[in-house]
């Protein structure tokens, strides 16, 4: 399956959902800073990988899928939950790539320009996350083609 960019999806997101994300994001960053100030950088650093926005995003994914099915006349469905589960699977892969981001910043930040290190670490995160996702898809296709039990 090809990766598609659907700008029309932006119109499905309501204004209050954008506001919620902004407020949650801002509050998480302030909370992370406060924790680092009170408890030190070791404890504060843990919260740099806190799943701040994921609960809101997963809820939106389920809600949008449920509304789409309701419009088609299907009132009771688990498709929304399964879509949210797919979203969570993607997030797990992204979190694996987050390890690389953290290691690059940890090792390179003291000796290089902060902006450059953060930009390079973000590019590395995107490249590794995309690669993990692609390998997972190849693996699934391979399994379906060669390993899945054939119907008798």
């Amino acid at each position: 399956m090809l990766i598609k960019f659907k700008a029309a999806a932006l119109a499905q997101v309501k204004v209050h959902e954008y506001v919620t994300r902004f407020l949650l994001g801002g509050a998480t960053c302030v909370a992370t800073g406060l924790i680092a100030q009170k408890c030190g950088p070791v404890v504060g650093g843990l919260f740099l990988a806190f799943p701040a926005i994921f609960p809101a995003s997963a809820t939106l994914v389920e809600e949008h899928e449920r509304q789409r099915k309701a419009k088609a006349g299907i009132l009771f469905t688990v498709r929304g939950r399964l879509s949210a589960a797919l979203d969570a699977r993607g997030a797990s892969m992204g979190a694996l790539a987050l390890l690389l981001f953290a290691v690059i910043v940890w090792k390179q930040l003291p000796s290089h320009n902060a902006g450059f290190v953060l930009a390079a670490a973000t590019v590395a995160w995107a490249a590794l996350a995309g690669t993990i996702w692609r390998v997972r898809r190849w693996h699934t296709r391979f399994w379906i083609r060669y390993r899945a039990p054939k119907p008798r």
């Binding site: 399956m1 650093g45 949210a84 992204g94 670490a121």
Partner: protein
């Protein structure tokens, strides 16, 4: 003032990555943006300016442990939503305890 700037920058960066998750298909790929380094980008840049690069590097070291906890959190969410078929909001919020416990356990093992 520093906290207001942190709030605004954090809100903008996190909203940006969340919006990227909305516009990409398929869902599995869009989900990658749920674990984008948005909080880290917003926080580490400001921290390295206000408290120095060494302080920010120590935070990034701890972030490795936080990211491992995030992987476990994601796996717990997949199980709760995909296998146990719980509502996304209940599963995602309930699984935050998995993140907290894993982060605390890994911190006690490797960083304490």
């Amino acid at each position: 003032m520093q906290w207001i700037i942190r709030f605004v920058i954090g809100g903008v960066i996190i909203s940006f990555f969340a919006t990227l998750g909305d516009v990409f298909k398929p869902k599995g790929f869009a989900g990658l943006f749920g674990a984008a380094p948005s909080v880290a980008l917003a926080t580490l840049g400001l921290t390295s300016i206000s408290q120095g690069k060494e302080f920010a590097a120590v935070e990034a070291h701890s972030m490795v442990v936080g990211a491992l906890a995030f992987v476990l959190y994601g796996i717990a969410c997949v199980y709760l939503m995909g296998v146990r078929r719980l509502r996304a909001s209940h599963a995602a919020i309930g699984a935050l305890s998995v993140w907290g416990l894993s982060a605390w356990g890994l911190w006690a093992l490797f960083l304490k």
